[in-house]
C-alpha cells in the first residue's frame, strides 16, 4: 500500500477508514457479491469483533463499514426511529470513523442501516438498505440441526416452514406470526426478513434499492438484489395479510403506516404513533395533524421540562 493510499484509508484518530481494515472489508465485499448473486442464500463470513455487543447491530455495521465511501450519506434507524439509543450510537460511530455526513431523511441518505423496519418513504435504485439480523436461519426454531437446515435450503425442502404457520392457525385461528415472517426470495430460497414487522414484507417485493442483511453473531450475510420477487409464505385459504390498526397516527394522522402503541398514563390511556419518526415529523411539518398532536406536544414538553428540572 502506497503512502498516499495509506493516508486515504486512515481516519484522523488512528482508525482505518470506516473502522474495519481493508482486508476484512474485501472479504465482506466478496461475500456480499456472492449474496447478491444468489438472492436469499446465507453466505458465511468471517465476522469481526465490533466495539459493541452482539445483538446490537454488529452484522449490519460490518456490512455498512464495507460498503460506505466518503461521498455516502448515512441514515440509521432503530425500530423506525432515528433518535433511539442504537440508532444514535451507530450513526455517531460512522460519523466518527468514516467522517461521512449523516441524515435523518430517507430521501437524502445513500445508505440506510436499519433495525427492524423498512422506512415508510419509498427508496430508490441508487440507495442501499442494510438490515441488522439477529437470527438469519428461518428454520432454526423448528430444526436445531445446522446440517439438516442447510440440506433443506439446498434441496428447497420448505414444508417445515409451512408447519409453523399451520401451528399458528391451529392455535390462534390465523397466522399470528407478526414479525420475522418467512419469505421466499426469487422463488428459490426461504429467507427470514429479520424481525421487521410483516407490515413491511410487501415492501421488500420488487424493491428498487439493494437490500443487504448482516448477522454478526451468526456470521451470515444475505441479500436481495433490486427488483427481486419476494413472496411471504401463506396458505391458499389463509392468505398473507399485514397488520391493521383501528386508529390513525395520533400525531400526524397517517392512515397507512406502521404504528407503535404508546402508553400515556396508568389509567389505560394510550395512543398510536408512526414508528418511522422521520416520516411522522415530516408530515407534521407539512401540516398534517392527528387527534392528539397538541396534547402530546404539551405532555412531551412537560416531561422534558420535568427532566430538566430534576437535573438542575
Amino acid at each position: 500500500m502506497s503512502a498516499a493510499q495509506q493516508q486515504a484509508t486512515e481516519g484522523d484518530d488512528g482508525y482505518n477508514f470506516a473502522y474495519l481494515d481493508e482486508q476484512t472489508k474485501r472479504m465482506i465485499r466478496r461475500c456480499l457479491l456472492k449474496a447478491v448473486a444468489v438472492p436469499g442464500y446465507q453466505v458465511p463470513f468471517g465476522g469481526r469483533e465490533m466495539p459493541l455487543p452482539y445483538g446490537w447491530g454488529t452484522g449490519g455495521m460490518q456490512v455498512t463499514a464495507s460498503i460506505i465511501g466518503r461521498d455516502d450519506t448515512l441514515k440509521v434507524i432503530d425500530q423506525g426511529a432515528d433518535d433511539t439509543t442504537n440508532a444514535v450510537n451507530i450513526r455517531r460511530f460512522f460519523a466518527r470513523v468514516a467522517e461521512v455526513p449523516t441524515t435523518e431523511s430517507t430521501a437524502e441518505a445513500s445508505i440506510v442501516q436499519t433495525r427492524h423496519r423498512v422506512p415508510e418513504d419509498p427508496m430508490r435504485e441508487d440507495q442501499i438498505i442494510v438490515y441488522q439480523v439477529p437470527q438469519p436461519e428461518p428454520l432454526r426454531p423448528l430444526e436445531p440441526r445446522e446440517i439438516e437446515c442447510r440440506k433443506m435450503h439446498a434441496y428447497k425442502e420448505y414444508g417445515l416452514m409451512q408447519v409453523s404457520l399451520y401451528e399458528d392457525i391451529a392455535r390462534f385461528g390465523e397466522i399470528a406470526t407478526s414479525y420475522s415472517y418467512p419469505v421466499m426470495v426469487g422463488d428459490r430460497y426461504l429467507m427470514s426478513p429479520t424481525p421487521i414487522p410483516k407490515f413491511d414484507n410487501p415492501k421488500m417485493d420488487d424493491f428498487p434499492a439493494l437490500q443487504l442483511f448482516g448477522a454478526g453473531r451468526e456470521k451470515r450475510i444475505y441479500a436481495i438484489p433490486p427488483y427481486t420477487k419476494v413472496k411471504s409464505l401463506d396458505f391458499d385459504d389463509h392468505p398473507f395479510a399485514v397488520q391493521q390498526w383501528e386508529e390513525d397516527c395520533a400525531l400526524c394522522g397517517a392512515e397507512d403506516t406502521f404504528l407503535d402503541e404508546v402508553i400515556l398514563d396508568d389509567q389505560g390511556g394510550k395512543m398510536y404513533v408512526c414508528s418511522d419518526s422521520h416520516y411522522c415529523a415530516r408530515r407534521r411539518a407539512e401540516g398534517h395533524e392527528g387527534k392528539l398532536s397538541e396534547s402530546a406536544a404539551r405532555a412531551y414538553a412537560a416531561a422534558v421540562g420535568a427532566a430538566e428540572e430534576e437535573e438542575a
Binding site: L142, V163, E167, A170, D234, F235
Partner: protein, 259 residues
C-alpha cells in the same frame, strides 16, 4: 398382486462398522402387500439392516433396489440425495422405536401429521387439517388432543401418532423398528390390532424389525431370523415359529415365556 416383479430387492447387502460386521451378505425380495418380519436378539444387526434398507445408511457392499413409480427397480443409493429424501417422505414411511426420533415434539399432533402433506406441496389449511383429522381417527386418537403437543402424550399415543404421520402420504412401503417397544402389553395389543388392520386395509408392504416373536406372529407374513449379522433362517411366519430348523431359532422360540 403383481408377483413377477418385487417391490424391494436386496442383493448381497453387507455393512461393517470398521472391523465389526453388522450385516453380512443378506439377499431377499419383498413383494407388494407383503409384511416381512426381521427377528433376532439385540446386537444381531436388525436395526443396521433396516437403516440400510430405508436409505438412511449406505451399506458397505451390496445393492438395495426399489420399484420406483414410473421408473421400475432402481438402486436407491444411486439416486441423488434429494430424490432419496423425497422417497423417504412420500412413498416410504419409517416408524422409529423411539417416538422422539420420529415426531416433532414441539409441534401439535395435527401439525405432525400435516408436515408430510405440506412437504409435498399441500398449501390449503382446511384440506390439510381434514386429512390430519381423518388419519388421527384411523389410528384411534382423540380429536380433542389434535392441537396438543406429542411431548404431553403417553407412549402409546405417541406411537400411534407416528404411524398416522407416516401413513398420511399413502406410502407403499413402511419400515418399523420395534414399533411396540417400551409399551405395556394391553397398549401393545391395541397397537398391533391397529397396525394389522391398517396393513390389510391399505395393502401396505412393511418390514418390521422386532425382538418380540408375538409381534412377528401377528403382523408378519414371512420371517427372517438374524444372528450375528447373518440370516440364519427364512420362511413363512408360522412355519418358522412352529417348526424352527436352525438351532438358534429353536432357542429363540423356546425362550418365549408362556403365561
Amino acid at each position: 398382486m403383481d408377483t413377477s416383479s418385487p417391490l424391494l430387492r436386496v442383493r448381497n447387502l453387507t455393512h461393517a462398522y470398521g472391523n465389526l460386521l453388522a450385516c453380512s451378505d443378506i439377499s431377499f425380495e419383498l413383494h407388494s402387500g407383503e409384511v416381512l418380519g426381521i427377528v433376532g436378539e439385540s446386537g444381531s444387526g436388525k436395526t443396521t439392516l433396516l437403516n440400510c434398507l430405508s436409505a438412511r445408511l449406505a451399506p458397505t457392499n451390496g445393492i438395495v433396489e426399489y420399484d420406483l413409480r414410473g421408473r421400475g427397480l432402481s438402486d436407491i443409493y444411486a439416486l441423488s440425495e434429494p430424490e432419496r429424501r423425497l422417497l423417504l417422505r412420500t412413498d416410504w414411511g419409517v416408524v422409529m422405536q423411539n417416538p422422539r426420533d420420529g415426531l416433532r415434539m414441539d409441534v401439535s399432533a395435527g401439525g405432525n401429521v400435516g408436515e408430510r402433506l405440506m412437504a409435498v406441496g399441500a398449501r390449503h389449511y382446511g384440506a390439510i387439517r381434514q386429512e390430519a383429522e381423518d388419519w388421527l381417527t384411523k389410528v384411534e386418537m382423540d380429536l380433542g388432543r389434535m392441537d396438543d403437543k406429542p411431548k404431553h402424550f403417553s407412549g402409546g399415543m405417541q406411537q400411534r401418532l407416528q404411524i398416522a404421520r407416516n401413513l398420511v402420504t399413502k406410502p407403499r412401503l413402511v419400515f418399523m423398528d420395534e414399533p411396540t417397544g417400551g409399551l405395556d402389553v394391553s397398549v401393545q395389543a391395541r397397537l398391533l390390532d391397529l397396525l394389522r388392520g391398517l396393513v390389510r386395509e391399505l395393502r401396505l408392504s412393511a418390514i418390521i424389525v422386532t425382538h418380540d416373536l408375538a409381534v412377528a406372529r401377528l403382523l408378519a407374513d414371512r420371517l427372517m431370523v438374524m444372528k450375528d449379522g447373518k440370516v440364519v433362517e427364512t420362511g413363512l411366519t408360522d412355519q418358522v415359529l412352529d417348526d424352527p430348523h436352525h438351532p438358534y431359532t429353536q432357542l429363540l422360540v423356546s425362550s418365549v415365556l408362556q403365561v
